[in-house]
């Protein structure tokens, strides 16, 4: 038992949230500094976890286990495998950059970032971050739900309080209800699994490593796979339950959008994988065609809807639906390529949307509009943000040399191995994506600066630039050197394939 790094990562944001709450509300910059310091700390730890994970050994590492409620077999059981380590890193990155871009600019003309009650904002955001970390590292089903819900409810407050005035109340409530419905449906499934395991083995345990061996009957798996998987997949933005997601993205303040699209949606996909597919493999095999259908529709439909949007955030929101559809598509293949791709895509998409939302937020804060037709000429004003957005766009359209390609390619290969027709249909989205991204970039960044925006739109701050550079480097680095992440994900995939019974 070494340094309990995973619990430190998980509880750092929560402790930081408490500390921030204790600070006097008028010490705004001190609050932010504490936030940044703890985010940096969490980032460094997650980087450390990522790089000291022993890929040769594979399996779950950095394991910590504390009995929490032995009577019901609940334990605080933490550990990461090749699937979750990249996601922990992603959370660290998004948290760090999210704090950076929320720092903002107190100049009354700009008023970028979070200027209203930053103390509460960071506290809630960090509570959310802690929950997210917790889900990724939990190996105990009960704790997974525990952290899952912690990650969900601060969203309501963050969106409703600091969101976009026009739709925030509606969007926040819609989002919360959707996610809550999904998670409790999954919860019932998890409880059913818990009791059936008890009947089968006589062991009361929420430990997922124990549950893997519970020997659920095929009928049971088939009956419960859909509620469990889809319940989580709601948060993953799976069609036809994706409706909350674009609304939520649009209404959320920038850092929350980053978290939401960058990390939270991964939470859904990850939990669906870990609980749905890994614990109910037979059910997964039985229903994979349905998941694949949903995902295939999401990919194309999301891209098409994104294409017709005029609000940048809606566009990115729907593009997230499309890209998360690819993740689901990868998961539904249940083979090595597809799952590997899904793992990498989760990371890639997380970084990419975080960047998209960051840049959109910077533009909105300064231009006070996100409508694509009303914008223009941003490249001259904020070249850094422009280049960042372009790189994000290239990732989004799966351009080789960037992380999106590295992720999407194996997914498509996996789909080829199972159902080639879906691969063909889903590939249409690539062209649609290229079209709307290019149109958007051209209009927003290169077209003439509209009259209305003359004068009062300025460049972004240094902190914003650091955030953009961090995110861009990750995307390009992963795109050029897939070896940085893919072998890691593969070790996780091997474990899943073992549960699926060879294949």
């Amino acid at each position: 038992m070494n340094f309990p790094v995973l619990s430190v990562i998980t509880f750092t944001p929560m402790v930081a949230a408490l500390i921030i709450l204790m600070m006097p509300s008028h010490r705004r910059n001190e609050t932010r500094a504490v936030a940044l310091a703890s985010a940096t700390f969490a980032l460094l730890l997650s980087v450390w976890v990522y790089f000291s994970y022993d890929q040769a050994t594979g399996g779950y590492q950095f394991i910590e286990k504390y009995n929490w409620l032995p009577m019901l077999g609940i334990s605080l059981h933490f550990g990461v495998d090749g699937m979750s380590a990249p996601l922990v890193l992603l959370t660290g990155v998004v948290m760090f950059t999210g704090v950076l871009i929320s720092w903002g600019d107190e100049d009354p003309h700009v008023k970028a970032g979070i200027q209203d009650r930053p103390r509460e904002f960071f506290a809630f955001l960090f509570l959310l971050a802690g929950g997210v970390f917790g889900v990724f590292v939990s190996l105990d089903l009960f704790m997974l739900f525990f952290f899952y819900e912690i990650a969900v409810f601060p969203m309501y407050l963050l969106i409703a309080i600091w969101g976009w005035v026009v739709t925030r109340e509606y969007a926040a409530m819609k989002l919360t209800l959707y996610l809550f419905v999904g998670s409790v449906v999954s919860l019932v499934g998890a409880l059913a699994m818990y009791w059936v395991q008890y009947q089968n083995t006589g062991v009361l345990s929420f430990d997922m490593l124990v549950m893997e061996k519970a020997g659920f009957s095929q009928a049971f798996q088939i009956a419960w796979f859909l509620p469990v998987f889809l319940g989580f997949a709601v948060l993953g933005g799976i069609w036809p339950f994706h409706n909350w997601s674009p609304d939520g993205h649009v209404a959320a303040p920038t850092a929350v959008s980053m978290f939401h699209a960058g990390v939270l949606m991964k939470l859904g996909a990850f939990a669906a994988l870990r609980v749905g597919i890994m614990l109910l493999p037979e059910g997964a095999k039985y229903w994979s065609w349905l998941i694949m259908t949903f995902a295939g529709i999401a990919v194309v439909y999301g891209a098409y809807i994104a294409f017709v949007q005029t609000d940048m955030k809606y566009m990115i929101g729907f593009s997230s639906v499309s890209h998360m559809g690819l993740v689901m598509l990868g998961l539904s293949t249940l083979n090595q390529n597809g799952l590997t791709g899904a793992g990498v895509q989760m990371f890639s998409h997380g970084v990419m949307t975080a960047l998209f939302f960051a840049v959109t937020g910077m533009i909105y804060d300064r231009a006070h509009t996100r409508m694509i037709p009303e914008l223009g000429g941003m490249m001259k004003i904020m070249p850094f943000a422009g280049v960042g957005f372009i790189i994000g766009g290239l990732v989004s359209m799966g351009m080789p040399g960037f992380s999106g390609f590295v992720a999407e390619f194996p997914i498509f290969m996996g789909v080829w191995q199972t159902q080639w027709l879906v691969a063909v249909i889903a590939s249409i989205s690539i062209v649609i994506t290229a079209a709307y991204i290019m149109i958007n970039i051209r209009k927003v960044f290169f077209a003439e600066l509209p009259e209305k925006l003359h004068g009062h739109v300025g460049d972004i701050t240094v902190l914003d630039k650091i955030a953009i550079v961090t995110l861009c480097l990750l995307m390009v680095g992963l795109g050029l050197f897939p070896g940085l992440m893919v072998p890691m994900v593969q070790t996780g995939v091997e474990n899943i394939l073992r549960l699926l019974g060879g294949a």
Partner: protein
């Protein structure tokens, strides 16, 4: 035989009585403006009673004392501790309520009611049970109507009295029938007498229905809930808090003991009826809550719904079921007291209790807003607050017993719950006071409030994170029924 065990079995009650006498003596010597200190005295005394009971009054093997009147076991003991804690918190919340804070008799009535509740939790005999229920209820009738000049309060007291009396009459009738059929009033002997087959189904149904009416009134399950909103709204807020938590928990304590000890065989066949009642209670409670604009009425209806959730554990009719009910009640007592406490603290300064009046509260007192958030999210069943874990356990028990449909009803209801609880938080955090600068209207917290609310909030978080000890106690309590 009067042994140490006999004494230990009523140690908390004795201590409460001593405390009451002490207050009775001391209070008249205090000047009017000092009388609010009775609150400190009551709370301190109750806490001391809790500590002393824990030190000297812990039950060992379950025993029956006082000639079969009282059952000395963990189930009763754990509930007693909960009641006394709730009583202490309520006493502190009394203090700065201008209507009752300086009236010593309020504290005495509270203690009297507390005495009754304690006895409810341990009654092993129908006669004792009835007496303790009345001991609990009568002081509460008075307290509800305490503010004589306030029409709503008078109405609340009177309404509560009428409905309460009616319900007790039903229950008493049921008890008498039981005695008539079996010739005994002792719960633990009823089991043998009350075998299936020794009684016609219709008769058994009638008896149980009558008793259920009485208890249903106490725990406010639909359709015996309609007194609750009016009483909660009209009664002084600390009383509402006390009614909705301790009083309800006492009802559950009786319900659990009665059904598991006295009528286990019938109860097993009754679970479906209870399940339907539970489903209706949750649904009606939640749907009615949706329309409320007054915070106290909202909490009242939501407490109806919570009775429904807790019932799932009873319906499950397993050890985990009972454990989860007890755990649920423990978490619920803390949470709802916190919720009422926040409402009190707010209304004391602002003088209003409509939901819309909470606009801008987070700017007027961020800490109070955070505590309200804690309470409401816990009620909604979100981690890391007690409500989440409690709900999960109750649902787990439901799934274990095969009542998946009931759990799904519970889930749908929790979702409705999330909606209206968050809706309140929207006022607190999102909306602004119309045309006012919130900074100029702060909500200061007096010391008793700050202390109580902080303790409750920490308790709610503790029960939601470090839930093992609480669960252990609940489990020990449940174990005595099997």
């Amino acid at each position: 035989m009067f042994t140490t065990i006999t004494f230990a079995s009523i140690l908390p009650e004795v201590l409460i009585l001593l405390l009451a006498i002490l207050i009775f003596i001391v209070e008249p010597f205090w000047k009017a403006e000092q009388r609010r200190n009775t609150g400190w005295l009551t709370a301190g005394g109750l806490l001391a009673a809790i500590v002393l009971s824990l030190l000297f009054g812990q039950p060992g093997e379950p025993q029956t004392t006082f000639g079969g009147m009282i059952r000395f076991d963990w189930l009763g003991f754990f509930f007693k501790l909960l009641f006394m804690f709730a009583g202490a918190a309520t006493a502190l919340l009394f203090m700065d309520n201008e209507k009752i804070g300086q009236r010593g008799e309020a504290y005495l009535l509270l203690l009297a009611s507390l005495l009754g509740m304690n006895l409810m939790a341990v009654s092993a005999d129908l006669v004792m049970l009835y007496l303790s229920i009345e001991t609990t209820s009568i002081p509460l009738y008075v307290l509800s109507g305490f503010m004589l000049k306030d029409k709503k309060s008078t109405e609340a007291g009177f309404k509560y009295l009428l409905f309460g009396a009616l319900a007790s009459a039903f229950m008493l009738y049921g008890f008498s029938l039981v005695f008539g059929f079996t010739g005994t009033t002792n719960l633990y002997q009823l089991v043998e007498m009350f075998q299936v087959g020794s009684l016609s189904v219709a008769a058994a149904f009638g008896v149980l229905a009558l008793i259920l009416v009485g208890l249903g009134f106490k725990v406010s399950i639909v359709p015996f809930h309609f007194w609750a909103p009016d009483v909660y709204e009209g009664a002084p807020t600390p009383i509402s808090g006390f009614l909705s938590t301790a009083s309800k928990a006492a009802g559950f304590a009786v319900l659990v003991r009665l059904f598991f000890i006295a009528f286990p065989q019938f109860a097993a066949s009754w679970t479906l009826t209870l399940a339907i009642l539970s489903a209706i209670t949750m649904t009606v409670g939640n749907l009615l809550t949706l329309q409320q604009t007054n915070i106290k009425r909202l909490l009242a209806y939501s407490s109806v719904a919570h009775a429904g959730y807790a019932m799932i554990g009873v319906v499950a009719f397993t050890k985990l079921g009972v454990t989860s009910v007890i755990f649920y009640l423990a978490a619920y007592i803390l949470t709802n007291l916190l919720a009422f406490g926040v409402v009190m603290a707010f209304s004391r300064v602002s003088g209003v209790d409509e939901i819309k009046d909470f606009a801008g509260m987070s700017r007027r007192n961020p800490w109070l807003a955070l505590m309200m958030l804690t309470a409401f999210l816990s009620l909604a069943g979100m981690p890391p607050f007690g409500g989440f874990v409690a709900k999960v356990f109750v649902f787990a028990a439901g799934v274990e017993a095969g009542y998946v449909w009931l759990v799904f009803v519970g889930i749908i209801n929790s979702i409705i719950g999330v909606y209206y609880y968050l809706n309140v938080m929207k006022y607190v955090y999102l909306y602004r006071m119309p045309n006012e600068d919130e900074e100029k209207h702060p909500i200061p917290l007096t010391r008793p409030y700050a202390l109580t609310l902080a303790v409750l909030a920490i308790g709610v978080i503790l029960i939601g994170t470090v839930f093992a000890p609480w669960f252990g106690w609940s489990d020990a309590a449940a174990l005595t029924l099997f």
